[in-house]
């Protein structure tokens, strides 16, 4: 069995989520990669990849030509994977449509070649499903598979022609200008609660966020008290985030807040109250006054 992975390359480097997808794919046997636009070299360096299909002519990840191309190659593969990214979620279900198979999105665990675990109901339940399709089309959640290294492999590269796209034309792309990443897509989030006492103190989170390239979030109590704007609220009635690292500062961890961040990979809590419920979900906790901890944390980073 051979699996094909749609590998995304950004600024010359393979995205971590794609390296996780390669790791997931190696569970099925040999791994080929396909790269749209430049970046075949980066993909060829991934350990475990034997062959890279390079499509330099397809620069903007348009789903229509991408899916056509994948469909034309699909018969050689038992599994076709991508990261559960905006690109993966745009292209792979379309590919599944062309192949007339049922895609399996957001896989968090692979049981065997046909059986997968995926979250449903916003992660409130995990479904184990078995696919009877001959070609399995899946997107995988990066945080659930340890990525392969960026270097160490030496795959062969085969260049293929990009099909034309008439029905869909790329116009432009605007990447958000803010120097802070968006809450929902940030790799690190640092959130503050009522414990920060006022809006001025809330700014204490900024230098740390800068150092970690983190987005800033807030509890509802902090938003209601005017420390932070509404868009920053994390939780049941705010944004739902699942970063690699979530740092909760001076917030108690009410269940409505947890509903918005409990799927983060690593949670850190800083709170004076050792009984605060946030410690029940935190991987690392500091029982202490945030006004003392934050400055030292900033220095230690």
């Amino acid at each position: 069995m051979t699996a094909l992975v749609l590998v995304e390359v950004e600024n010359g480097a393979v995205r971590q989520a794609s390296r996780s997808a390669v790791a997931a794919a190696s569970r099925f046997g040999a791994v080929d990669a396909i790269v749209f636009g430049d970046g075949a070299q980066a993909a060829a360096a991934l350990p475990g990849v034997t062959r890279v299909l390079s499509v330099p002519g397809l620069v903007n990840d348009l789903a229509e030509p991408a899916a056509d191309l994948l469909a034309a190659r699909a018969k050689d593969y038992s599994h076709i994977l991508a990261a559960a990214s905006a690109t993966g979620k745009n292209i792979l279900p379309r590919l599944a449509g062309l192949l007339d198979v049922q895609p399996i999105p957001d896989v968090v665990e692979i049981k065997d070649a046909d059986t997968f675990v995926r979250p449903i109901y916003a992660g409130n339940a995990l479904a184990t499903v078995r696919s009877s399709d001959s070609i399995k089309v899946l997107t995988v959640r990066g945080s659930n598979f340890d990525p392969v290294a960026a270097e160490g492999g030496s795959a062969t590269v085969e260049t293929i022609e990009a099909p034309a796209s008439e029905k869909s034309v790329f116009v432009k792309v605007e990447l958000s200008a803010s120097d802070r990443p968006e809450l929902e897509s940030a790799r690190v989030v640092i959130s503050g609660g009522k414990g920060l006492k006022d809006a001025a103190n809330f700014k204490l989170l900024e230098p740390i966020a800068d150092k970690l390239n983190a987005a800033i979030g807030a509890s509802r109590a902090a938003v209601d008290s005017g420390f932070a704007p509404n868009e920053m609220q994390v939780g049941q009635t705010g944004k739902i985030v699942a970063p690699e690292l979530y740092i909760a500062v001076g917030l108690s961890g009410a269940i409505q807040h947890l509903a918005g961040m409990k799927d983060s990979r690593v949670i850190v809590a800083i709170n004076t109250d050792p009984e605060a419920p946030i410690f029940k979900v935190a991987d690392y906790g500091i029982v202490g006054d945030l006004f003392e901890v934050l400055p030292t944390l900033e220095k230690a980073l």
């Binding site: 599944a96 109901y121 339940a125 995990l126 499903v129 869909s168 690292l245 990979r265 029982v287």
Partner: protein, 251 residues
């Protein structure tokens, strides 16, 4: 403009309901639970109605594939402004692939010029039906839309991608899937709900369409996610940074 917009809508467990995994692991308890229109589909309905109000479309037709009870979401959609509704009746739960087969048949019959739908249903979170449908129809797709404009037989779609927005221009007919920021759907007001009771609702038995609705996935089990385990307490910021670097490897 003579374009007809088709909006598929799905009846799902209400956003506010805390779902509970059935004790026997067969699924999620949906018995007696409040159901509503999938929130992304409300956005899709709103967008379609706006297109008609702007004169870019002639008619908005909503369709759902589901049981008799799914009528209520069609009524809600009509109260929001859709002109008429189609219930494709089935008591089975269909996968996106099967739903797409059904929708393809309806889109062809209706000669839809645009299909505007939710990007994802909040129950199964597949985020797939629109893309599969577009592929099956051979139409271009504008997924995760945050803005759309129709002009000169094309539709321009601003799409939410990781870290920003991408704009694509598609020929019509096309499939657009709505993301959260596309618009803020209007309320179904009481007068409009009353009027919607009188709008046409057609029921089509799924078998009469003669499409393949078989499932390709079997649910082995459904479980609650494991609870997070309480971690460790560290004594200082320095120790924390050390652990984040070497143990958790997140920074």
């Amino acid at each position: 403009m003579t374009m007809k917009v088709l909006v598929p809508v799905k009846r799902v467990v209400d956003y506010n309901v805390k779902v509970r995994v059935a004790a026997d692991g067969s699924g999620v308890e949906t018995q007696g639970v409040k159901m509503s229109m999938n929130p992304f589909d409300e956005i899709a309905v709103e967008e379609a109605v706006r297109l008609r109000e702007k004169g870019a479309a002639k008619e908005v037709v909503v369709v759902t594939v589901g049981a008799q009870a799914a009528q209520d979401v069609l009524r809600t959609a009509m109260a929001m402004g859709a002109d008429r509704a189609i219930l494709v009746r089935t008591d089975d739960t269909l996968e996106p692939r099967a739903v797409a087969n059904v929708l393809k048949a309806i889109a062809t019959r209706e000669e839809a010029g645009l299909i505007c739908m939710g990007k994802q249903a909040i129950d199964d979170d597949m985020n797939a039906t629109g893309q599969i449908l577009a592929a099956k129809l051979g139409w271009p797709q504008g997924t995760f839309a945050s803005a759309v404009t129709v002009a000169d037989g094309r539709i321009e779609v601003a799409r939410e991608i990781d870290g920003g927005t991408e704009v694509v221009s598609l020929t019509l007919p096309a499939v657009v899937t709505a993301d959260l920021r596309l618009n803020e759907p209007r309320y179904a007001s009481l007068p409009n709900i009353m009027k919607a009771r009188k709008k046409p609702l057609e029921t089509v038995e799924i078998d009469s369409l003669g499409v393949d609705t078989a499932s390709r996935l079997t649910v082995v089990s459904v479980a609650e996610p494991a609870e997070r385990k309480e971690g460790v307490k560290v004594n200082s910021a320095a120790e924390l940074v050390e652990k984040l670097k070497t143990e958790a490897k997140v920074i």
